[in-house]
Amino acid sequence: MTATLPLPTKRDEAWRYADLKALEPVWPKLDGPERLVVAAGETASRQITELPMMEGVGIVDLDITVGDNANFALHVLASAADYGRIQVKVTLGNGAHFELGGAILGSGTQTLEIVTETIHAEPDATSNQVVRSVLADKATGSFLGKINVSRDAQKTDAAQSVKAMLLDRTATANAKPELEIFADDVKCAHGATVGELDKQALFYMASRGLPPELAQKLMLQAFIADAFVSMDDDAAREAIESKALEVLESLGENLP
């Protein structure tokens, strides 16, 4: 993403759900992707609790190379932007692991998305991506997860779990796994669901004395916790969860 590149269009698969109108004014000001290299055998992680904002648009663009037997974990919270995009390209070496945990919390007319491209270039690498979205009003939350498995990348194990909770019928969730597999001994699991808050559970909780806003908060908190359960660092996990909770509370005004 540099000034020399033309603005993407909806025809570009990776941009099909993007808010290009919001993107246009900031597009020339964006730097290219931030490159990260995790050396062989090393472990690294990154947490993004707030998007870097520019005129209501927050773009994170990462290009990560994970060396042989190295491990990279990325945990992100996409919220608080008219248009927010977390775009990640990961290239995995032999026996490397990539972990992604993402929560998308949207309301109003926000468009928030996580777009990943995971390249299993060498054998024995693993990747696990968990994305949970909570969407209110007319918000759109999308996850596009492309997985490339090269011809030599035998024993690849790649998993994606994507779940969205719509608090209003006017909200939109998109979940799009895309697999390109050229090796024959691989495991690529992907699952996606879109649902609403369980009304039976809400009544059950109310019958114990929980006001609706608190019952909803408890359920949503549990729902998005899946995205951060893989974090080893307790302090970092608490920080991202408490920020997520803050955003959830602001969505709490939208009761079913």
Binding site: D198, A201, A206, S207, G209, L210, A215, L218, M219
Partner: protein
Amino acid sequence: MLKIENLHAQVGDTEILKGLSLELNAGEIHAIMGPNGAGKSTLSYALGGRPGYEITSGGVNFDGEDLLELDPHERAAAGIFLGFQYPVEIPGVSNLQFLRESLNSQRKSRGEEPLSGAEFIKLAKEKAGLLKMDMDMLKRAVNVGFSGGEKKRNEMVQMGIIDPKLAILDETDSGLDIDALRVVGSGINAIMRKPDKAVLLITHYQRLLDEVKPDYVHVLADGRIVKTGGPELALQLEQEGYEAVAA
């Protein structure tokens, strides 16, 4: 304590309660028995305020308050506990967190101080012990992976912790083996057999009533109470069937 007058309730377009009247005083245990489809569960949901159960006429007064004006969580805070026939699973929310938040929400709305973590754990341990439930189960997500019997036992632990004035127990005995039935029965007695409390027990079978002796037994058929008697009525029902007794 609870006075139900000529209650009519419908689910969708179907009228299920067709003029039900019932009065419970403090210190009393009432059993409601009746054939399938008589409206027993509808009665408990209507009293709990479940969305979709529409009251079309009649009234319910609880401790001098118009119950039907209250939202479900406000009914709980007023002192009503609903024991579910099919307790609901809530993935990811621990029993302890759920109950502490529930209890403290109730206390807050009554103008009482919230219980601290330590006070709450002490209370939860005591009530779990009463129902012979392992504390580890209280740390797990609400009802997730619990057997049918464990869910019912958990309902009673919740009742013990919340300590309501009135418990409406919808087929709490179903899914329990004989030993569990005895534990649950003695739990109900220990928690609710008090001069300032009352219980409405909805059941199909005499067996629970051997453990929790009712003061009154009512037969509910086609949306109305058709017969009221003492404990002997339950025995008669068991021997002769609803059709013979309710006719």
